[in-house]
C-alpha cells in the first residue's frame, strides 16, 4: 500500500533529523569542554597595568585577547585586575604618588601572582615606584621599545618588543599599487608616534630613489587630511601610529584611519590592525589582540610553573601578519591575487562559489526541512481529509437528523431527552428546551404512561430493538399518536418515532367509509328482499292472527276448552317471538354499525342468513340444503359483516339460477375446516361463469344483473380481506358455480361445537 510505504519513509526521515540534532548539539559542547584543560589556576591573581588611559584601542584590543586566553586557561575573572595609570594625561609626580598609594591600598593585602604591563611606563612604574609594594612578582612587559633595558634580577620579566613591519607593509602596498609615485606617511607627533616614525624613516630609506616620501607628522591632523585629500590616486598613504598630533590633540589610529579614508583618493595602508576595518586597505599588521592572546598564553605558562628559560631576557615575539580589508581592496580596485598566501581578509563579501559548501549544506538542510514539512503537511492533510470525511459524514448525519420528518431522540433511562431533532418542535409544538427540561413521560398521554414506562424499563434491561406506540400530548392540548422504534446503548436510548396520527385517522375514516358502503349495500340488498322479508314476518303474524281468532271463538263457545286456549296463547307468544327475531335480524343488518370483531361460529352466521332468506328461496323455488360441519373452530369476525357476505353469496346463487326451470334450482351450503382455516362454500346449479369473469366479478360496479349495483361481491371481498380471509369462485364440474370463502382460525381458538 503506498500510504504505508510513505509512512515508513516518514519515520526514517524523522530518525535522520533526530540524529542531526543529536550530533550537532555535542559539537558545541565538545568545543566548550576543550577549554577547561588546565586546572589549579583558579586562585592565581593577575594585575594588568595600562600605562595610559584604559580605553585606548591598543589596550582594549590587547585586554580582549589577553582576558580571552586567560579565562579559557582557567583564570577566574574575579582574579584579574585591570588598572590604567593614565600617565600620558597626568605626567606629574603628584599623580604618581597617588597612584602608588592607590596601588598600596588596592593590592597591599593581596597576593598577586603575575603582573602584565603595557608600554614601558607601566613597567617602570612597577619596578621603580612599587618596588617594595609588589616585589618579586613575575612580569610580562608588553610593548617595550627595542632599546629599553630590562632588569634581569630579582624577578622574572618576560619582555615583548613589538615588531612594526613597515617594510613588509610597503612591499605589499607596492605590489598592490605597482605604479605608485608618492608615499604619504601619516603619523602622530607623540613620543610614541615619533619612535615609530623614526623606524619608518630608517626602513623606508631604500625606496627613496623611486618613491617620493612625504612625512606629515609635523602638521596638525586637519592639515594632514587636507594634504591627503589632494594626494593623486597613484599614491600610497601609509598610516603609522597616531596618539596625538603636533597640536597636542589626542587621537587614536582607528579614528585617524576613518578620517583619512573619507578624504583620500589613494589607498591607505597601515601597520596596526586596530586601523583595519576603519578605512585602511591593509598591510603587514601588528594585531594587539594577537599580542594579548600570545601574552595570555605566556602568562598561563608562567603561572603554571614553567621553568625560567635558558635565554635571558625572556622574550615574547609576536610577528605582524598580512591583513586586508576586502571592501577597501574593492574600493581601490586592488587585485586580491597579489596578496601573499595566508593573508587574513576581513569584511569579505563572499561569492556564492565561496559559500558553495555552506550553500550545499544549507540546501540539504532546507531540502530536508522542506521534505519534513511536506511530510508533515501530507500527514496533516491526510488527517485533515480523514477528519474532513468524518466531518462530512457527521454533517450528513446532522443534516439527515435535521431534515427527517420522523422524531429522533437520544434519551437516558432516567427519562430525560439528551438530544432531539427539529421535527419534535414541529410535531409537538414545544421547543426542544421545554422538552428537555422535563422527564419525557410528562408529555405522554396518561393512558399510555404505563405502557411507555414498561417499554423504557424493557430498554434499560435488555439490549434489543423494541417497537411500541403511544400518544404524546402537544402544547396545544391535542394528542399525536407516535409509532416508536427504540434501541438501548448503555445508559442511553436511541429512538425514532413516527407521527402516525393522520395515518390512523385516515385508516379510521377509511374503515368508516367502508362500513358505510357495506351498510348501504346491506340496505340495498334488504330492499331487494323486501317482499320475501315481508313474507317472513307475515308467517308468524298470520299464525298469531289465526291463533288469536281461534282463541276468541273458543272463548265465545258455551264451554270453552281452556286447555286449548292456553296452548293457543303459548303459540302466539312463540310466533310473536319469531317475528321479533326476524325484525331483530333485519334491524341488525340495516343498522349502521362499526366493525366489531368477536369470536363467532361461521355455521350460525350461515344458519341465520338462510333463515332470513327462507321466504325468498321459497318464492324463487330454490331448494337450499346445508352440510355444516359442527366441529369447525370459531373465527374472529364481525357478525353483521359476515352475514352480509353470506347473504350476498346465497342471493347470488339464487339469482344465478333464474333461468333454470322449477325444481332444478338447488343451492348447497357447506362449511368445513382445513388446518388453520375455516371454509364455507355456496354452490348453485345455475349456468356457471365464463372463466374470464371469475376474478372480474369481485371488482366494484361489475354486474351481470340488470338491476344490480355490482357492489355485492366487491364489498364481500373487502370484508373478507379485512378478516384476513379469502374469497373466490370456481365453476362446478357438472353445472353451476361455487363461491368459497376462508377465514383464519385465531391461534388461541379451540374447536367449538355447534350450539
Amino acid at each position: 500500500m503506498p500510504t504505508a510505504r510513505l509512512e515508513r519513509w516518514g519515520k526514517l526521515f524523522f530518525l535522520l533529523c533526530f540524529l542531526i540534532l543529536v550530533f550537532n548539539g555535542p559539537w558545541v559542547g565538545v568545543n566548550n569542554a576543550q577549554v577547561r584543560l588546565q586546572t589549579g589556576l583558579e586562585t592565581k591573581s593577575i594585575l594588568l597595568l595600562h600605562s595610559f588611559e584604559g580605553n585606548a584601542p591598543i589596550f582594549l584590543e590587547t585586554d580582549n585577547g589577553l582576558s580571552g586566553r586567560l579565562l579559557s586557561g582557567g583564570i577566574s575573572r574575579q582574579n584579574m585586575f585591570f588598572e590604567s595609570l593614565d600617565l600620558r594625561r597626568n605626567p606629574g609626580p603628584e599623580h604618581r604618588k597617588l597612584l602608588v598609594e592607590q596601588m598600596r591600598m588596592r593590592y597591599g593585602h593581596r597576593k598577586l601572582d603575575l603582573i602584565i604591563t603595557m608600554y614601558p611606563e607601566a613597567l617602570e612604574f612597577v619596578l621603580k615606584d612599587c618596588g617594595d609594594l609588589l616585589p618579586g612578582i613575575p612580569i610580562i612587559a608588553l610593548y617595550l621599545p627595542q632599546r629599553i633595558d630590562v632588569p634581569e634580577k630579582n624577578r622574572r620579566i618576560t619582555a615583548h618588543f613589538p615588531t612594526l613591519d613597515i617594510i613588509g607593509t610597503l612591499e605589499l602596498a607596492l605590489k598592490l599599487v605597482p605604479g605608485a609615485k608618492r608615499l604619504y606617511v601619516v603619523s602622530g607627533a607623540h613620543e610614541v608616534d615619533k619612535r615609530v616614525e623614526d623606524q619608518a624613516r630608517r626602513d623606508l630609506k631604500k625606496w627613496e630613489p623611486q618613491l617620493e616620501v612625504l612625512y606629515l607628522s609635523h602638521m596638525p591632523l586637519a592639515d594632514i587630511l587636507t594634504a591627503i585629500s589632494s594626494a593623486p590616486p597613484d599614491s600610497i598613504i601609509l598610516l603609522l601610529g597616531f596618539s596625538s598630533d603636533v597640536a597636542g590633540n589626542n587621537q587614536t589610529s582607528p579614528e585617524v584611519a576613518q578620517q583619512l579614508s573619507r578624504v583620500s583618493k589613494a589607498p591607505i595602508f597601515g601597520i596596526l590592525d586596530v586601523a583595519l576595518g576603519n578605512g585602511i586597505a591593509g598591510g603587514s599588521l601588528l594585531s594587539f589582540k594577537i599580542v594579548g592572546d600570545q601574552a595570555g598564553e605566556r602568562a598561563l605558562e608562567v603561572l603554571g610553573g614553567a621553568k625560567n628559560p635558558e635565554i635571558t631576557p625572556d622574550v615574547l615575539v609576536v610577528p605582524s601578519l598580512p591583513m586586508f580589508d576586502w571592501r577597501q581592496l574593492k574600493r581601490w580596485n586592488l587585485s586580491e591575487s597579489a596578496l601573499p598566501e595566508g593573508s587574513r581578509i576581513i569584511n569579505r563579501e563572499f561569492t556564492l562559489w565561496d559559500l558553495k559548501y555552506y550553500i550545499i549544506a544549507a540546501l540539504v538542510f532546507v531540502l530536508a526541512q522542506s521534505l519534513l514539512i511536506l511530510m508533515l503537511l501530507a500527514q496533516k492533510r491526510r488527517r485533515k481529509s480523514a477528519e474532513g470525511s468524518l466531518r462530512q459524514k457527521t454533517d450528513e448525519l446532522d443534516r439527515f437528523f435535521s431534515v427527517t420528518l420522523d422524531l429522533l431522540c437520544i434519551a437516558n433511562t432516567e427519562g430525560y431527552f439528551l438530544r432531539l431533532n427539529p421535527a419534535w418542535e414541529k410535531v409537538l409544538g414545544y421547543s426542544r428546551k421545554e422538552l428537555m427540561a422535563n422527564r419525557f413521560w410528562s408529555f405522554v398521554h396518561p393512558d399510555d404512561l404505563a405502557g411507555t414506562q414498561e417499554a423504557v424499563s424493557k430498554l434499560a434491561s435488555q439490549r434489543e430493538l423494541i417497537h411500541f406506540e403511544n400518544r404524546y400530548r402537544c402544547k396545544d392540548g391535542t394528542d399525536r399518536l407516535l409509532e416508536w422504534t427504540a434501541a438501548p446503548a448503555g445508559e442511553l436510548i436511541y429512538a425514532a418515532a413516527r407521527d402516525i396520527t393522520e395515518r390512523m385517522e385516515a385508516e379510521v375514516e377509511d374503515r368508516q367509509r367502508r362500513d358505510e358502503l357495506a351498510h348501504l349495500a346491506r340496505i340495498s340488498t334488504m330492499g331487494e328482499l323486501a317482499g320475501a322479508l315481508a313474507h317472513e314476518i307475515n308467517q308468524p303474524l298470520s299464525a298469531i292472527m289465526s291463533n288469536a281468532q281461534a282463541a276468541k271463538r273458543y272463548l265465545e263457545a258455551p264451554n270453552p276448552d281452556m286447555g286449548e286456549v292456553k296452548e293457543i296463547l303459548r303459540d302466539i307468544v312463540k310466533e310473536d317471538a319469531r317475528a321479533g327475531e326476524v325484525i331483530n335480524r333485519l334491524r341488525t343488518l340495516l343498522k349502521k354499525s362499526k366493525t366489531e370483531l368477536e369470536p363467532l361460529d361461521l355455521n350460525s352466521v350461515f344458519q341465520e342468513t338462510i333463515g332470513l332468506l327462507h321466504s325468498d328461496a321459497v318464492i324463487r323455488d330454490v331448494k337450499v340444503t346445508t352440510e355444516l360441519d359442527p366441529w369447525i373452530s370459531c373465527v374472529r369476525g364481525d357478525r353483521v359483516q359476515l352475514q352480509q357476505v353470506a347473504l350476498n353469496l346465497i342471493l347470488n346463487a339464487f339469482e344465478a339460477m333464474n333461468e333454470q326451470s322449477r325444481g332444478e334450482k338447488r343451492v348447497l351450503i357447506r362449511t368445513w375446516q382445513k388446518g388453520a382455516e375455516v371454509l364455507a362454500a355456496v354452490a348453485d346449479s345455475g349456468g356457471g361463469l365464463p372463466a374470464e369473469e371469475t376474478e372480474k366479478i369481485f371488482k366494484p360496479f361489475y354486474t351481470t344483473k340488470p338491476q344490480g349495483l355490482g357492489m355485492g361481491l366487491s364489498i364481500s371481498r373487502s370484508i373478507i380481506n379485512r378478516h384476513q380471509g379469502r374469497i373466490w369462485v370456481e365453476n362446478n364440474p357438472d353445472r353451476g358455480a361455487t363461491f368459497f370463502m376462508s377465514l383464519p382460525v385465531p391461534a388461541d381458538e379451540g374447536i367449538v361445537s355447534r350450539k
Binding site: 317482499g531 298470520s542 289465526s546 281461534a550 273458543y554
Partner: protein, 214 residues
Amino acid sequence: MTEPHPTVFVVDDDAAVRKSLVRLLKSAGYHAESFASADEFIECRKRNSLPGCALVDIQMPGIDGLQLQRELINSTHEIPIIFITGYGDIPSSVKAMKAGAVDFFSKPFNDDDLLRAIREAIQRDQRERSERAERVSLAARLATLTPREREVLDLVVRGLLNKQIAAALGASEKTIKIHRGRVMAKMKAPSVADLVRAAEKIGTPPGSPPPPDR
C-alpha cells in the same frame, strides 16, 4: 245425505301457520286436516277425495300452490281452493282466480272473511260434487246405449225431427222412433228437454262424430 262431513285441507309449509289455521277452522266447527307440502296433499287426494275445500299457501317449496291447483284441476280429485299468501303479488292472484280459485287472501287475514270463503267453497264443492255425480250417472247411462242409439241421441240433441234423423241415418221413421224411445228410457229422461240438458252436462259424447259419408 250420505256424503261425509266436509273437510278443510290446509296446505302450508309453515308449521305454525298450518297449526293456527287448523285451530281456527276447528274453532269454527270445521273438520280440518293439514299438509306440509303439495305432494303430501296430492297423495292424500289420490287415496280418497273427501268433500270439502283446500286452504293453500301459494309459496311453498317444491310444488307451489298454483302448480297444485293445476294438478288438481287435471285430476279427478278436484276440490275448491282458497289461496292464502304472505307475499301478495297481483300476477299470482290473477292466475289463481282465473284457474278457478274460490278466493285469495293475503296474510294476515280476517277470520270472518276466510270462514265465509270456506263456507262458499264447501258449498261449491257440494254442488260440484253432485254435478259430478250426476254427470257420472248420465255417463253410465250413456254407456248403456248401443252405437245406433248414440247416433240417434246425438241427432235428437241437435234438434232434428224423427223424419230428418231417419233420413240422416237411412232408416225408417218408425225405427228411429223406437230407438228414440229406448234412448229416452236408458237415459232416464222424461222429456226431450231433459235429454238435451243431460247431454249438455256430459258434453259432447265421445265416439259420436257425424257419419263421414252418409
